[in-house]
Subunit: 265 residues, 2 copies
Amino acid sequence: MKELVFVGLGLNDEKAISVRGLEETQTANSVFMELYTSLLPGFSLERFQTLSRKKVAMVSRRNLEEENGVVILEAAAKGKTVFLVPGDPFVATTHLSLRIEAEKRGIRCRIVHGASIISAVVGLCGLHNYKFGKTVTVPFPENFSETPYNVISQNKKLGLHTLCLLDLKTDEQRFLSVREALESLLAVEQKRKERAVTMDTLAVGAARVGSETPLVKADYVKNLLEYDFEGPPHSLIIPGDLHFMEAEALIAFAGAPKTLRDVVR
Amino acid sequence: MKELVFVGLGLNDEKAISVRGLEETQTANSVFMELYTSLLPGFSLERFQTLSRKKVAMVSRRNLEEENGVVILEAAAKGKTVFLVPGDPFVATTHLSLRIEAEKRGIRCRIVHGASIISAVVGLCGLHNYKFGKTVTVPFPENFSETPYNVISQNKKLGLHTLCLLDLKTDEQRFLSVREALESLLAVEQKRKERAVTMDTLAVGAARVGSETPLVKADYVKNLLEYDFEGPPHSLIIPGDLHFMEAEALIAFAGAPKTLRDVVR
């Protein structure tokens, strides 16, 4: 049967895959994996292969983007093929074109979902999901853009929080840090003066979400700039208006300053 | 050790839990579960107990909201306790107060994330995650509110998509359908005339996300009203401006009318 199953690896390590995702892998004819769209810092390919009892073929950005995933499509045309992707498979838009091409070729596609940073970081810091506006990615300085600042500013005008995903280049082992992201936003603030991200803005940094020791810290930007979030990956949230329960959650789960209680309505 | 581990059950059935979540359950002293904040239509408690080799105590809304989860807190004060929750544990805000109370009592809290409708439905229909605005829940007619319409209207003005979660009352086996949600939005349209949701608006309905046979259908509201999405749970997306790749994805994955190609920029 021509079949391509996109399986989410979830966050951090090889045991974040769902029981069903593992079963699909164990019963596949061919198994492919990419680890370049996100960093899973605790992931071991060797341990995953032991767990799944399968030899996994790693695919590169080049295999997928320049060669249009032809190696995966050819395997899927012969029999059940599993493609393992960090997080939930289509939160990054990278693999949508592979799925469109597979459907065109008459290959049945299925998705086995995994945990995503999108929902995980929200829960970890205790902010309310329905109070988030548009999400944005903060790029590396060489790809500097004012878009993240604009998104934060627009969300704030509506009282909404902004989840900022931080760019990464896994092939170069480069991962944008909370500090670098804040510096990039402050640079735009200097020009625009909309007060969307100043030294006195409350922000929440998170590191290694999904691991056994995730780090979440809420504080004013001037303090977060000095805070050591240690190893990647990092994420950043710029809150909009806080509900008093959200302030309590940030104090309890993210070590936010208790003075936060005085500023929420 | 005083420990409370919130474990996400993911979507649809008992095999959506992560391998780590299952291991945490297998090694816990006490295991609790709630199934009232979301519907997992393929879930079997019996199969889950076989899988986890644990007796699971079900907790009700009353146990958690009126009695403040005291039964869970008392177990966690004695040893490692796992609390199993549909989806990703804190996407619904319901359990944040339990976590705050546990932290106050010196109980260490950890989270094992699960797949959430928030990321899953986005990927399933092929829309781009970073183009979603604020999420909203559409309530039952007896709790009618104009908020969902307002959120959609505001998001649309910004060109953004809106994910509408549909209300449910698991104890009464009542689940809002795509049709009911659209009718509720059209009722507001009649008064407000902002053209946020008309008969000619493109919308995307999804049912049983996370199952082996999820149903996703994109069409104009007038057609979706007649479409049979079958069993619950349902979700609804009202797209804002579409990127041409999003239009292609809706055509390929959600059977959207091909005329959509003519309207995207």
